[in-house]
Amino acid sequence: MSVLLIAEHNNKELKPFTYNAVSAASKIDEDLHILVLGNKSETVAKSASEIPNVKKVIHVDNEIYENFIAENYTSAIIKHADTYSHIVCSANTFGKNLMPRIAALLDTSQVSDIIKVISADTFLRPIYAGNAFATVKSNDKKKCITIRPTSFEPAPATGGSAEIVKSEAGEAFKNSKFVKREEIKSDRPELGTARIVISGGRGMQNSENFKLISAIADKLNAAIGASRAAVDAGYITNDHQVGQTGKVVVPDLYIAVGISGAIQHLAGMKESKIIVAINKDGEAPIFSVADYGLEADLFEALPQFLEELNKLNTIQK
């Protein structure tokens, strides 16, 4: 048995969730290899080789991997699939897009979004927006698995020195072409990995009012999240969406402001360690998962919250 993990990166560095996926993958089997498909991506391969749990890095460098096109990735991965019992990657938009394409070509029924490794063939995964947990056993010879990154601690980044083996590119796929990427740059911590997340919902009423949230996010060094309702209403961009079809976050502190708490939103945040809900509707479902609920008008509560934070001598960063 050995496990092949597909690295997610930007040709310069590994994306943080790759480290979480390493933790999960090494629970499946200790013989863990990482495949880095990139363009001018030597630093990525080097970083991968420094992760202590990694036994070998396969590095394929070619211009067709400059942008992540699942079709191009797939042909290279299939070439290496023979020697592995498991092929794994993160269950974020990267892995969700990629893994089923590999699984279908290997005639494997994929296990998506696992939150626990029970054994090499048995896994725990949420279904119905996390309203049920299913224990599932894969009976396929080769297993394709995506890992919910926030359910596993990130592996250490340094201390290892795995060998890096160069390999040839796969066939380029002619019918898909990358056009552009609109990344929203922010100085704030990344939503998926932030220690504190403060999110706004439809109760924010407009995009201007999200300034009340940003001011607190600045103070707490928090990431900003949002409900789907707020994103759909155009108050904030989609990369902030937390929920069943958005991002799943597990921060130490999640502050939900003006969010009623639809099942689909709860699916993305209810594993947070401490949940605070601020809502003027005392009956809102969000209070059923909140450790601390404040029934109040957010337009009064948020400025007061900032004021109280300013009074504190120290704030954990």
Binding site: L105, N131, V179, N238, A290
Partner: protein
């Protein structure tokens, strides 16, 4: 151009799902069912493309038990031209679904296949990508904007970092995000008309696809419950609790 749209019948998104006491699954008896929400977006987008004159025919397809055809009727009521219901009992895994769809694509020869990016029951997010792989077609997943060109689609995708735009040559598979459009409601006259539109029934077994489960569902259980929290009286109490009790700030 011809568009095939795949729809799935699932527990309605507003229903609070309950786990069966014997751990074999979730309660579906007497529970409201409806079309998987992003599948509605897939149907809507196909109808819009047809209305713009860029598509001639929309075929809606579902795979499942007898009642699953309700979802096809709904698609017919908002603008699909005809329907296909592939009958099969029990859970069909995405791999088997994509193999069935592949057979239908071979027969129908659509230029585009649309479906929701994820079903809200099993949350697998696999079928579109798998079908694209089996057909050797390009895949445009998590689409929030589609621009139909002569022989290609320009698709904006919702990704973790923001938005990504790709161009895929036709034929192609598109999986739709909830933000792609606002699905219309079917009018009563259109619901009546939809009953007269053709709906072909096919047995999955006649397609020669093995639908046997590859993944054994050992048990389904309730997720751990959160301990009941408290209500605080005001903001200063909240901040004190966060600082001194929860120790998170």
């Amino acid at each position: 151009m011809k568009i095939l749209v795949a729809v799935k019948r699932v527990i309605d998104y507003n229903v609070q799902v309950r786990v069966k006491e014997d751990g074999t699954g979730v309660v579906t008896d007497n529970v409201k069912m409806s079309t998987n929400p992003p599948d509605d977006n897939a149907v809507e987008e196909a109808v819009k493309i047809k209305e713009s004159g860029k598509a001639k025919e929309i075929v809606a397809i579902t795979i499942g038990e007898e009642k699953a055809q309700e979802t096809v009727r709904k698609a017919l009521a908002v603008g699909a031209d005809r329907g296909i219901h592939v009958k099969v009992e029990g859970i069909v895994e995405p791999l088997a679904v994509s193999k069935i769809l592949q057979k239908i694509v071979d027969k129908e020869k659509p230029d585009l296949v649309f479906m929701g990016k994820q079903a809200i029951d099993d949350d697998c997010n696999q079928t579109g990508q798998m079908l694209a792989a089996l057909l050797g077609w390009p895949q445009a997943t998590f689409a929030s904007k589609i621009n139909v060109k002569d022989s290609a689609l320009e698709v904006t995708r919702e990704v973790d970092e923001g938005l990504e735009t790709i161009e895929v040559n036709i034929p192609a598979i598109v999986t739709c995000d909830l933000r792609l459009n606002e699905p219309r409601y079917a009018s009563l006259p259109n619901i009546m008309k939809a009953k007269k539109k053709p709906l072909e029934q096919i047995n999955a077994s006649d397609l020669g696809v093995d639908t046997k489960a590859r993944i054994e569902q050992i048990k389904v259980e309730e997720p751990p419950k959160r301990k009941a929290g408290i209500k605080v009286a005001n903001v200063s109490e909240l901040v004190q609790k966060l600082k001194n009790e929860a120790k998170v700030i």
